[in-house]
């Protein structure tokens, strides 16, 4: 069931209605039933995979909690410091074993489902180069949302292990969290304690939840159906056949793709957050107007926030605090290389995070290249930061004005666009081919070439709608930077509020790219 379908809207409204009508005590059951129905509609064959990860991490949490509780009881009776230290170390070791088993199960499932084909592809490429017989890959299915719920399950198990909160005893709550239909397909990647805190006592009906939730959904549909899918028709045509288009058109398509992917992903997230708000459950924010970022570091704090925070909490910090990192830091410290020590401490975890981020996004060398690209940018910004600071001072460039901010935002956006080439191209060869053409085939006149415009079959009306919609997007994002927009809207007069809603809805219904006659364009991030 696609998030952009009428079936999904009807399903959500029915679930919301039952959620409030059946009372607080039944709410978690209603959510469980809705999640189960959603997942079964997607494919009943996916259920076992979800259940295995769910049960592995649930029981791991219980066992780890039990280990810690038993240890705490023993510690109370213990008086010797050395005995206490030994008890803690033993408990940690036991807990670690359980944790590792649970994580291995979850990660192995993810790896097998997601990377089997990729592994076989590469093994066969090597075998072919040695003229050996290739292997036949076995078929695996890709369970719905496996990348997302696996990360949520891992975060739960690790949080229990790190004693951030106690394990959940009630399996129903944990099951509802992991399979929660608004976030199971493409995030945001939530944390169990935040989720549980909101639903544990039941949620009272508030009309504001319905109003604001539906407004957020409407905004999400506008971004996805009016902007993203429309722009997708434009840039998809060019990027898929880049060899036949002039360089400037390819560059334009890459820029447009950057807007498409933002509106596609953030649109979907707004839809699911809107649905969740109607249940009275606030999901993690995933986007914070990333194209207003002035540096790549800031960009990654504003884009796919829940994933970046997951990597920060579960990869970056652990790697930073790992024994290996400590050893290297100590090595540089002993050599008196403070700068090297600082750089290694900040850059090595970044490299690890981005290698994993790349491969998480997809089983393809394209995504690995994309991850390495961003790692280089982030590491580069750290390494060269003092140099750039001196340069701006030497050139007497004022950095506290709009012009400099605009330059920074533009530079950051264009650097993202460069990365998008790897993200969107079919192969690495294609991505370099596109770069080559963008810089070699540069004719301003090609932008006015009628034959190219005709071949695109995009139409002046689509161009106008796109420009107006992007302007609206920019205006809303600007306003959101300055004020809580939905709360501000709620304070306006009735006619203004209703006009905004009716016009917004009409715009989605009339100008949205959906329905028979348009190719079903699924969400870009759904494939992960």
């Amino acid at each position: 069931m696609s998030y952009q379908s009428i079936s999904f809207i009807a399903f959500s409204l029915l679930a919301v209605a039952l959620y409030y009508l059946l009372g607080k005590k039944m709410q978690v059951w209603v959510l469980a039933a809705a999640n189960l129905a959603f997942y079964i509609i997607a494919g009943v064959e996916y259920l076992p995979y979800l259940l295995v990860t769910m049960l592995a991490t649930y029981f791991a949490g219980l066992i780890i909690s039990r280990i810690y509780n038993k240890t705490d009881l023993r510690l109370e009776k213990c008086t010797e410091m050395s005995e206490k230290k030994e008890l803690r170390a033993k408990a940690k070791k036991k807990a670690k074993r359980v944790l590792v088993i649970a994580l291995l199960i979850a990660i192995a499932l993810l790896a097998v489902c997601k990377y089997t084909a990729f592994a076989f592809e590469n093994i066969n490429a090597v075998l072919k180069s040695f003229d050996r017989e290739t292997l036949t890959p076995f078929k695996v299915i890709m369970p719905l949302g496996i990348s997302y719920y696996t990360f949520m399950a891992i975060s739960y198990a690790l949080d229990i292990y790190w004693k951030r909160y106690k394990a959940e005893k009630n399996f129903l709550y944990y099951a509802v969290f992991l399979s929660y239909f608004p976030h199971v397909v493409q995030g945001p990647i939530d944390r169990y304690n935040e989720f549980k805190e909101q639903i544990k006592d039941g949620i009272s009906f508030k009309s504001e939840n319905l109003a604001e939730g539906s407004q957020l959904m409407l905004w999400g549909f506008f971004k996805k159906l009016v902007i993203a899918d429309r722009l997708g028709m434009f840039c998809g045509t060019i990027i898929d056949e880049w060899e036949t288009y002039p360089g400037l058109w390819i560059a334009l398509a890459v820029v447009v793709y950057s807007i498409q992917i933002y509106t596609d992903f953030s649109g979907c997230i707004d839809i699911v957050r809107g649905v969740s708000e109607m249940f009275g459950i606030t999901l993690r924010r995933n986007f914070n107007h990333p194209y207003f970022s002035k540096t790549m570091g800031e960009f990654w704090r504003r884009w796919h926030i829940s994933l970046q925070e997951w990597f920060k909490d579960y990869i970056y910090y652990p790697v930073s605090a790992s024994n290996f990192t400590k050893k290297i830091k100590k090595y540089y410290k002993n050599k008196g290389k403070k700068r090297a020590e600082e750089l290694f401490a900040s850059c090595f975890p970044v490299l690890v995070v981005w290698m994993i981020t790349g491969i998480w996004h997809g089983a393809s060398w394209m995504f690995v290249a994309w991850g390495i690209f961003h790692a280089i940018l982030l590491i580069g910004s750290q390494v060269f930061a003092p140099f750039f600071q001196k340069l701006t001072q030497w050139l007497r460039i004022k950095t506290d004005n709009f012009g400099w901010s605009f330059w920074q935002m533009t530079r950051t956006f264009l650097l993202c666009c460069v990365g998008r080439v790897f993200f969107r191209a079919s192969t690495i060869a294609d991505s370099f081919g596109m770069f080559g053409k963008m810089f070699s085939d540069v004719k301003i006149s090609s932008l006015f070439d009628r034959s190219v415009i005709k071949a695109l079959d995009f139409g002046a009306e689509n161009m106008v709608i796109s420009l107006i919609a992007i302007f609206v997007l920019w205006a809303v994002d600007m306003l959101q930077e300055r004020m809580p927009l939905r709360k501000t809207l709620a304070q306006q007069n009735l006619i203004f509020r209703w006009s905004v809603i009716v016009i917004g809805l009409l715009a989605v219904i009339v100008f949205g790219i959906y329905g028979p006659g348009f190719e079903a364009s699924s969400f870009i991030y759904e494939q992960f």
């Binding site: 009428i6 009309s207 009306e461 809603i501 009409l506 219904i509 009339v510 949205g512 959906y514």
Partner: protein, 446 residues
């Protein structure tokens, strides 16, 4: 506190109603409802309550074979086609229910010809639902048609909310989309194909006595319809019109459906093998294998009118002042029809369908056009018509026994065109009988 809750609830309901009316209005504009053959159903709702003798339910087969203006002109009966292009047969039960809301006492004539189609193509589906007013009957009909058409839930949304399919028409909106104009011609067709085309479909005509297999789903749908008609004690006549469709499987399906309907005690009128009796000429009376043109429908309408009058005792309403709107419609329609129909075609009681036909040959001379033709065995003479422009009415040029005519009332050398049509005739006991002509005539360019 309670007052605030009530206020919010009322506000939400009002907003919902505002949204529904705005979206509904936008949808009405976006749906393409302004095509000529989409206007019959809206026109039906303009009819006075309980004023119709019968309602004719079916697809384009209805309004191309039945001409309600002719029926009123010749026989004074009022039979309106509740029909749309490609109207699914499986909708009939609900359309009867719908039509009964305003025409309780009418007889229902149901055309079964579309029952050959096991599917419900989306465009035919929309042709019907886009012009029907919203009602529970319509909703139940949509449910049923989605089931019969095998549409998934996802694919069904466009029928409940047509904007799903038609929203992208925003860049094609025309002025006429803002207002749906119902037919004022009582359902008489004015499509270009119906008025102007004539095609020889003789080779496509097939017959069969075999009774085909009825799929279970279709059998159940028909039985449900018959159950409804039985329960409501309705007068219903199921008609199979003659077509030239090449596929014997269709005829075999008609046989099966008619057998089922008859076995349930309902009246059927099987006209598929009655071409001669009706007088339909496969060479000139059809514009394609499935549809008669205006010439064929004149004959068909006359035949069916006489049948209905005899069976149901419909009264002649031509002198009834309350039916002045039918006279007005007839007057309006005559202006359209008279430039297409040869004057003798209205003399239905003086038609001889057994007479052969002959084609005209022409030769343009200096200030003259010579027309020649082959003799028709059964004919005593020939009636020649002419018009100077396609939009003019046919005028009698000459009548005689010769098989040639020299038209000197022409201007040649200036690129003018003249149209000629030839009808074989015979005289019997002082009455002239007319055969069939190539109705579109022969165009001679000078």
């Amino acid at each position: 506190m309670k007052f605030l809750k009530v206020k919010k609830f009322v506000s939400a309901v009002c907003l919902f109603l505002v949204i529904a009316s705005v979206v509904g209005s936008a949808q009405d504009v976006l749906i393409s409802r302004s095509e000529i053959d989409s206007q019959f159903i809206p026109g039906f709702y303009e009819e006075r309550e309980n004023s119709l003798d019968a309602v004719y339910i079916g697809s384009s087969n209805c309004y191309t074979t039945w001409n309600s203006a002719f029926a009123f002109k010749e026989h004074g009966i009022c039979v309106y086609p509740y029909s749309s292009n490609g109207q699914p047969f499986y909708a009939s039960r609900y359309l009867i229910e719908e039509a009964r809301k305003t025409q309780k006492d009418a007889v229902f004539v149901v055309n079964i010809n579309t029952v050959f189609d096991d599917t419900v193509p989306f465009d035919h589906f929309h042709n019907l639902i886009n012009v029907m007013p919203d009602s529970l009957t319509k909703l139940r009909m949509i449910n049923h048609l989605c089931y019969m058409g095998g549409y998934s839930i996802e694919d069904s949304w466009e029928f409940y909310f047509p904007f799903v399919r038609f929203h992208s028409r925003w860049d094609n909106i025309r002025a006429r989309d803002f207002q749906m104009v119902p037919s004022t011609l009582k359902g008489a067709s004015t499509t270009h194909r119906y008025l102007d085309w004539s095609s020889n479909v003789t080779n496509k005509y097939v017959t069969s006595d075999k009774v085909g297999e009825l799929p279970e789903k279709i059998e159940k749908s028909i039985n449900d319809m018959l159950d409804y008609c039985e329960k409501e004690k309705l007068k219903v006549l199921f008609v199979t019109i003659p077509q030239a469709v090449e596929e014997k499987s269709r005829i075999e399906r008609y046989n099966a459906v008619n057998e089922l309907i008859s076995s349930r005690g309902f009246d059927t009128l099987r006209l598929e093998n009655k071409l001669e009796e009706i007088g339909l000429n496969l060479k000139v009376d059809y514009y394609n294998g499935e549809h008669t043109n205006i010439h064929g429908s004149l004959k068909f309408t006359d035949y069916l009118s006489k049948y209905l009058i005899e069976k149901y005792g419909f009264k002649d309403k031509r002198e009834d002042e309350s039916y002045n709107d039918w006279h007005l419609a007839l007057e309006e329609y005559s202006d359209i029809a008279n430039v297409k129909v040869l004057p003798y075609e209205y003399k239905l009681s003086q038609r001889d369908y057994d007479m052969g036909m002959t084609k005209l040959r022409s030769e343009v001379g200096d200030g003259e056009i010579e027309l020649t033709w082959d003799e028709v065995e059964e004919a005593d003479g020939y009636l020649l018509y002419r018009k100077k422009k396609e939009s003019y009415i046919w005028r009698k040029l000459t009548v005689g026994e010769d098989t040639s005519y020299l038209d000197t009332d022409v201007t040649t050398g200036k690129g003018y065109s003249y149209y000629y049509a030839l009808v074989p005739i015979r005289e019997e006991k002082g009455t002239r009988y007319y055969g069939d002509a190539y109705y579109n005539g022969k165009k001679v360019k000078t």
